[in-house]
Symmetry: C2
Subunit: 436 residues, 2 copies
Amino acid sequence: MPISGFPEWLPAQRMIEQRVLDRIRTTFELYGFAPLETRSVEPLDTLLSKGETSKEVYLLRRLQADENAKDDDQLGLHFDLTVPFARFVGENAGKLQFPFKRYQIQKVWRGERPQEGRYREFLQADIDVVNRETLPFHYDTEMPLVIGDALSGLPIPAVRIQVNNRKVCEGFYRGLGLEDTAQVLRTVDKLDKIGPAKVAALLIETAGATQAQADACLELAAISSEDGSFVDAVRKLGVSDPLLDEGLDELVRVVETAREHAPGLVVAELKIARGLDYYTGTVYETQLEGYERFGSICSGGRYDNLASTGKEKFPGVGISIGVTRLLGLLFGHDALKVSRSVPTAVLVAVPSEQERTACDRIAGALRKRGIPTEVAPTAAKFGKQIQYADRRGIPYVWFPGENDTVKDIRSGEQVDADATTWQPPVADLSPEVTAG
Amino acid sequence: MPISGFPEWLPAQRMIEQRVLDRIRTTFELYGFAPLETRSVEPLDTLLSKGETSKEVYLLRRLQADENAKDDDQLGLHFDLTVPFARFVGENAGKLQFPFKRYQIQKVWRGERPQEGRYREFLQADIDVVNRETLPFHYDTEMPLVIGDALSGLPIPAVRIQVNNRKVCEGFYRGLGLEDTAQVLRTVDKLDKIGPAKVAALLIETAGATQAQADACLELAAISSEDGSFVDAVRKLGVSDPLLDEGLDELVRVVETAREHAPGLVVAELKIARGLDYYTGTVYETQLEGYERFGSICSGGRYDNLASTGKEKFPGVGISIGVTRLLGLLFGHDALKVSRSVPTAVLVAVPSEQERTACDRIAGALRKRGIPTEVAPTAAKFGKQIQYADRRGIPYVWFPGENDTVKDIRSGEQVDADATTWQPPVADLSPEVTAG
């Protein structure tokens, strides 16, 4: 029986997912990110040290655990890839080269109540850069470019990366005279859910804001631009603060760098906050065109205080593609399809079981040249063997004989062929993934 | 802190692991196996339904679980990929094409006491074929060929696949007059651990064997051959039984098919039994040359009764590469190395921060043609930027200028270059993995 929140794809969908993952991985490597995989479990105190997520952790317990042995009880499945990465960096700092750029593509688990687009087990594809003590800001500008590159090579709707900077918000709130900037941030973060009137009321009620201060916060959150013009819009609100200036400078650099290298990809959106507490500067969210109402499919930000060894700190910036979330949405809307349900390009027909060894030899010759090949399961009538190929979308059937022939069962065209030289069109070598 | 039994590789080792996984996956796809990934958890009763493994299961519990809600308590992490696959086939039979060939590369978990070569979290790479009602025997002959192909393309020691057939053993024991063939099998399985004298004593004590019967069982277990000659050796023991005949015929087919397509890969080894109870015919184990004492790195067999929907049954045959076990052994003996610790082939040096945008443009042009490229983290002195490349094993440093140049920092050779046309040798495009 299916288990709610633990999705499983059929093989054809898994082939699409692999295509997506191959593209993501290749792109990450083109930018020089090295691969990392961390264990699936962390000590509970590591998982809880970053706040806010304690409700979501799955703990492990051995079925036959000794009641008195408590060690295993303290292990939980990781709920993201950033916290394990920060732990890994602190633990292995002496063996790593800094700045350290890594990617990590793994399952994560959260014991949340499942709902559309929310899973209990799901796949994330993360990149992060960390450095000892300080991390140059230009890495903040690289993150959206990597993601844009990775996703633009796939047959999926266009993405729009929304960027903000916590220093802008905190500096602005502080410049306004509001002290509890974290509380203001959390409240403004609810804007899309509860609307401006309720946010204003909450700001007055829980963050000690006046009506004018609440209005100013809402005006800031309404600012958005694809270029550096948001700076003027913020200045017009008449608030000044050194942290605000710093944040505006940083945010301009992210937006202008993206305009230079990938026009249309990035927009400054001053209402973006990100729930998790560890971000200290740039924050990213990503909307999929036509699926905006389902929320962000790729998020992240700058964290200056996540990883440390006690003696040293390792500031970082990272972004994470929600692969399962993205594919769950697209599969749910039949927005992706694949040309066949198996990798196989050629089925070698078997005239009789006595000839199976010869058929295996043909298959071996084709595979040696990179052509995925199966041999028919039985020496059934050729019509039935062709049906085997047809049902799976295998494009070619090979008929052994005095002179071998190969048939494109889509067009019906059949030609003489030699297993040591025949080559299908490149497009037929692997299943084609297209928009549905 | 490291957690015993939950291994983590450094990025350079992870690159080696990925090279191994790419080769395995490519080979599986060349043989027409379709990808599948199942969820990491199964209901506890599914996990326990196949016997013998209850001690090893990790159960999940939500940290904030309601004491009264027991549902989550009944989920456990899978301990292999065969049991989840059988469950998936039964559940999705109506959506799959049979015979169904799938591969599955995933982590599995066992709450065992960790020791060398035994992990609590490890990666398996499985292939299986299942069919409705009956599965042609030739799939049993294909399994070792796929594994041989996958592993022979890697810079690792040669493998030797040892094959046996439970029908041979059970038929022989029955033909000898021994009734509890399962108990005999389990006892003979201890041969390598406790030696022939103790096995004989145990057979007499626990399986009701006479000294002569025990000796005959040991004589059978001592038979081994790289061709069909083991049949004569068995016949000489003077036992006859229809199941024995069937098993010998099957085993000959596996050995002779392998001799035809991959000489030296497979050996009939009549002591091989496999611990898990669900195998009903062919069984496989695999030794790595020079690492025989560490046990099998790739095992499997035929199972006629694992998957069913109640109405229908789905016999299958499969084999599983213990990827973590294999790599753990080789890493532990420094037997694999990689030419660099990052995917990067080119580092673009940054003359000054003002020129970073131009450097990014050069990197973009190189990446567009598939050349993994990083831009230096800071506009430090060139000596320090070259050191950045050298420490990571990045072979080329690119110097922007009126005329760009690129330097092979291994040879010191520096040449004029254009980012839209320059191409490194193919061997430098990605890190090279070699035997250590």
